[in-house]
């Protein structure tokens, strides 16, 4: 038996012996193991990304919360923090002054995700952005997760504080911009909310969220960025700029050929004025702006024409669906298809015209910056956890809206509004202030409480520099009896501008 089974071909009747068949069986086992290794390679190398990002796979989320999130800073002071909770999702977000900065930060919640700056800069804050990588190969080998980086905002703490205090318990928003750079100095929205209350994953977090969602006052709506309102008379700044830039008006003190009463073209409807002082023909542009005369400005809009009006509005950010600061602002609207009467109404900020406070701040800032509209930006610097800079904000020109000469004329108009007209509440001792009020009707038959607007800029008196601050304020709902931009919004703009000017001095 030993003889027969000891070699190849030595099996029964010349069949292969056990040495041969055993080898083949061994080969079979080898193939099985190779199949396993091949399948493991397929999963662990080629399909790994897909599985890692499968929504049912909790690993990325666990990893995300396994370390403190980077901070968002105002100046050099963090307005956020992180705290360890000890759960599977360990670190949760905290906010040092949640209500005050909610419109800047957005929220970072373990359940509800990340919005606004917390969302757009999530890669930096959570440490997943590839720009935080040191030596990539080593990170891969050591499985090192980059610590979260920091996001420095352009916000001026004093201006933000003034904006929030000014808004108080009214429903409204403030956007303030540094005209020469586009840096956003204040971004406030009221009523506000504290994102700390639902940063975690507990039942308390969930009920806080549910309560905020159900609140009819919409505290989580960012009114400065994400909500548009008819800008009313503040839009007259755009109309004046368009009329001047296109030669419809050359001398702001020369009479315009505006009839009184002014009947909307193609209709029998008279465009009425709020102030009786406007009720006369041929008022000059400067007076029309100072008194906020609808008839003159409507007429100038029609004379300038739809195309040129549209183009000027778009220079300031209207009709831009992708205005990212980097948080995306809602699209401000100026219709591109209108008849003449509609152009007249749009030119005084009514009809379909709607603007975010941000875009109205851009209007004021563009005028203040001698006609150059800068791209508004909320992020000053991105940095690694060790403080080294990842990216530094560079001022970017958005549009050259008008020539410096025209801008100078519009500045004069705005200065006169604050000096002699409807914007007197924004006067600041020792400063040159330009502004424009707005009181926008809305609702069915204009039944809603009007939106009180004020846009302005300010610089130290006698300075020839570009004003350091431009601001837009809107009060959407107030308990005040006399709802006008000059009454309600101008004082808030004033305190924000003072905060910036004071900081400069």
């Amino acid at each position: 038996m030993a003889r027969r089974s000891s070699g190849r071909g030595n099996g029964p009747q010349g069949l292969p012996g056990i040495s041969t068949t055993g080898r083949r069986a061994g080969l079979f086992c080898l193939v099985l193991i190779i199949l396993l290794a091949a399948q493991a390679t397929r999963i662990q190398v080629f399909q790994a990304k897909g599985y890692d990002h499968n929504p049912a796979n909790q690993r990325l989320t666990i990893q995300r919360y396994s370390q403190p999130r980077g901070n968002i800073l105002v100046g050099d002071t963090p307005i956020t923090g992180s705290t360890a909770t000890g759960g599977r999702y360990n670190y949760k977000r905290t906010y040092t002054a949640g209500q005050q900065y909610a419109a800047v930060t957005g929220y970072s919640s373990q359940i509800y995700g990340n919005t606004q700056l917390e969302g757009t800069e999530d890669g930096i804050l959570s440490g997943t952005d590839s720009r935080l990588d040191g030596w990539v190969v080593w990170n891969e080998i050591a499985r090192k997760q980059n610590p979260g980086g920091d996001v420095y905002t352009t916000i001026n703490a004093a201006a933000q504080q003034a904006a929030m205090q000014g808004l108080g318990n009214q429903k409204g928003a403030v956007a303030a911009i540094e005209p020469s750079t586009g840096r956003i100095l204040a971004l406030a929205s009221t009523p506000s909310y504290d994102p700390s209350t639902f940063a975690g994953a507990s039942n308390a977090d969930q009920s806080a969220w549910t309560k905020l969602q159900a609140d009819s006052d919409q505290p989580m709506l960012n009114r400065a960025l994400r909500q548009t309102y008819p800008p009313g008379s503040t839009f007259k700044v755009v109309t004046a700029a368009a009329a001047l830039a296109n030669g419809v008006v050359t001398d702001i003190n020369a009479p315009t050929s505006t009839p009184y009463p002014y009947v909307l073209p193609g209709t029998t409807t008279t465009l009425v004025n709020d102030s009786s002082a406007c009720d006369q023909p041929n008022i000059d542009l400067d007076t029309a702006m100072t008194l906020s005369c609808n008839s003159v400005m409507g007429n100038l809009g029609v004379q300038t024409g739809l195309d040129k009006m549209t183009s000027m509005a778009e220079n300031f950010g209207f009709n831009d669906p992708k205005l990212d600061i980097p948080v995306r602002a809602a699209r401000s609207n100026f219709d591109t298809q209108m008849n003449q009467s509609q152009v007249a109404l749009s030119s005084i900020g009514q009809f379909d015209t709607a603007a975010t406070p941000l875009v109205m701040a851009m209007v004021a800032a563009g005028v203040a910056n001698n006609g150059t509209v800068m791209y508004p930006q909320l992020v000053d610097k991105l940095a690694k956890s060790d403080g080294s800079t990842v990216q530094l904000m560079k001022p970017r020109t958005y549009k050259q809206a008008m020539s410096p000469a025209v801008a100078g004329q519009v500045q004069q108009l705005m200065t006169d509004v604050v000096q002699n007209g409807t914007g007197r509440n924004a006067r600041i001792a020792g400063a040159t202030v330009g502004g424009k009020t707005g009181t926008a009707q809305h609702g069915v038959d204009n039944s809603g409480t009007p939106y009180a607007w004020f846009i302005s800029w300010a610089k130290p008196a006698g300075s020839s520099d570009v004003p350091p601050v431009a601001v837009a304020v809107v009060i959407a709902d107030s308990n005040a009896t006399d709802v006008t931009g000059g009454q309600l919004a101008a004082p808030i703009a004033k305190s924000v501008m003072q905060a910036v000017l004071g900081g400069k001095g």
């Binding site: 009747q13 083949r24 086992c29």
Partner: protein
């Protein structure tokens, strides 16, 4: 036959002393223990930022067990293959480390101490087998009674309550054993004995149908009957992994014994038929196949990840180099993470590199088994060694293939690594048998004895 070191030394032929490989074995055993201890320390450092306080005791326990086994081999089986013992020590050590690591994420149930206890028992039985079983051919005599015992063992769990849908455990107090694991050794012994005795008849006689020669029922009948009984019981108990394993062993051993390709063809046809019938009758199997074909379907349906998907997530997260011991999240797999799914933790924390290294360890162990089988002279020993090596190979394939979604998940333990006392003990006995047989296979034949063997 040498029965002690003294007589063996006396009967050695003159000339250079033959290499026994014992020192290689000692070095490898020490290395295996060291690797396991390093793993244990790494788990502690990664999870608690400190060396586990019992690292020394743990290392000492594993070291003493391994050295005891090594000493006994040195004493009683000095020509044995030097690889099976260190490989078993390393695999068992890795298993303990990974189970300890998983214990850290399930504070309510701690499995590593029990596993160490079973490992100790396994090594003890391994030593006992090496000491008591002088010659594997003794087993041939008890093949039939062994098969009967195996069948009884296999039937007993039917009278115990089902656990997770399978009646495969015998529970006594806090301990539970899985007789299917033990029974597989007895069955392999039976197959080896029966096939060694009847291989000529099986291979040569029978009716020829087309290109296949069907064996005579008289010869095939008994073995087929035994096999069908085993598979039948296992299917009744819904122990799918073991059913598959028993089926594979039978086909492979039949082929090795008779060299008839027709066995494989018949086997595959039977397997296909069996799978279809069982899959059709059993919703349990049906859902396993569904999960295998569409592991992510439950995610798409909004029901979250099923176990296979969780297992795949774990492997994927490990990538090439792994997350590091203790730094993965395989606890997300949930139940059976320490037993059937333990490979997913290894894939996640040691990466593809670690996983392939592990597969190579198994491959090495299997190949040494085959080598022993081919080197032996008696057909029973050859079939036994090859059968035992095949058992390990098939079991690794069935388990790993299941959790890697290469084949439908059937559930069985990864040899030496998975939590499970019966499995660890069984595999240590397999190692003991391989050691014992390899001693015989590698022993230089004394001139005066060579003739006796040839007879």
């Amino acid at each position: 036959m040498a029965t002690s070191a003294v007589t063996a030394a006396r009967s050695e032929p003159p000339g250079p002393r033959p290499r026994t490989g014992r020192n290689v074995e000692l070095a490898l055993v020490l290395a295996a223990v060291a690797i396991a201890v390093f793993g244990y320390i790494e788990v502690g450092l990664n999870i608690d930022d400190r060396v586990p306080p019992d690292a020394v005791e743990y290392g000492a326990a594993l070291g003493v067990l391994a050295l005891l086994a090594h000493g006994v081999i040195r004493w009683k089986a000095k020509y044995a293959d030097p690889l099976p013992l260190p490989i078993a020590v390393l695999l068992n050590g890795i298993g303990l480390v990974v189970i300890y690591r998983l214990d850290r994420t399930t504070p309510h149930s701690s499995a590593a101490p029990t596993q160490l206890l079973w490992s100790t028992l396994g090594v003890a039985l391994c030593i006992a087998v090496i000491l008591l079983l002088r010659d594997h051919r003794l087993l041939q005599r008890y093949a039939y009674s062994g098969a009967l015992v195996a069948l009884v063992l296999l039937v007993v769990p039917i009278f115990f309550p089902a656990v997770y849908g399978s009646r495969i455990w015998i529970t006594v107090g806090p301990f539970s054993i899985q007789p299917g694991e033990f029974a597989k050794i007895l069955l392999v012994i039976f197959f080896a004995a029966y096939l060694a005795a009847h291989r000529d008849a099986l291979a040569l006689t029978g009716r020829r149908i087309w290109r296949f020669t069907l064996p005579p029922g008289r010869v095939l009948g008994p073995v087929l009957l035994v096999w069908v009984a085993f598979i039948g019981v296992l299917v009744l108990e819904t122990d799918l992994g073991m059913s598959l394993l028993y089926f594979g062993i039978f086909v492979v051993m039949l082929y090795v014994a008779t060299a008839r390709i027709s066995w494989i063809a018949i086997g595959l046809v039977l397997a296909a038929a069996g799978v279809v019938v069982v899959g059709w009758l059993s919703p349990h199997v049906h859902s396993r196949v569904d999960q295998w074909l569409h592991p992510l379907a439950s995610v798409a349906a909004g029901q979250g990840a099923n176990q296979i998907a969780q297992s795949l997530f774990a492997f994927a997260w490990g990538g090439l180099l792994g997350a590091g011991l203790g730094l993965g999240h395989s606890a997300l797999i949930g139940f059976a993470a320490k037993s059937d799914f333990i490979l997913a933790t290894i894939g996640e924390e040691l990466g593809l590199v670690g996983l392939v290294a592990l597969l190579l360890l198994y491959l090495l162990l299997i190949s040494r088994g085959f080598r022993t089988g081919i080197a032996l002279r008696d057909p029973f020993g050859r079939l036994l060694a090859i059968g035992l090596a095949t058992v390990i190979g098939l079991q690794v394939f069935v388990v790993a293939g299941g959790v890697l979604a290469l084949i439908p998940l059937t559930g069985a333990t990864l040899p030496f690594i998975a939590q499970g006392g019966s499995s660890v003990v069984t595999n240590w006995i397999i190692v003991a048998l391989l050691v014992r047989m390899s001693d015989l296979a590698r022993r230089p034949a004394p001139p005066e004895l060579s003739q006796e063997v040839a007879l």
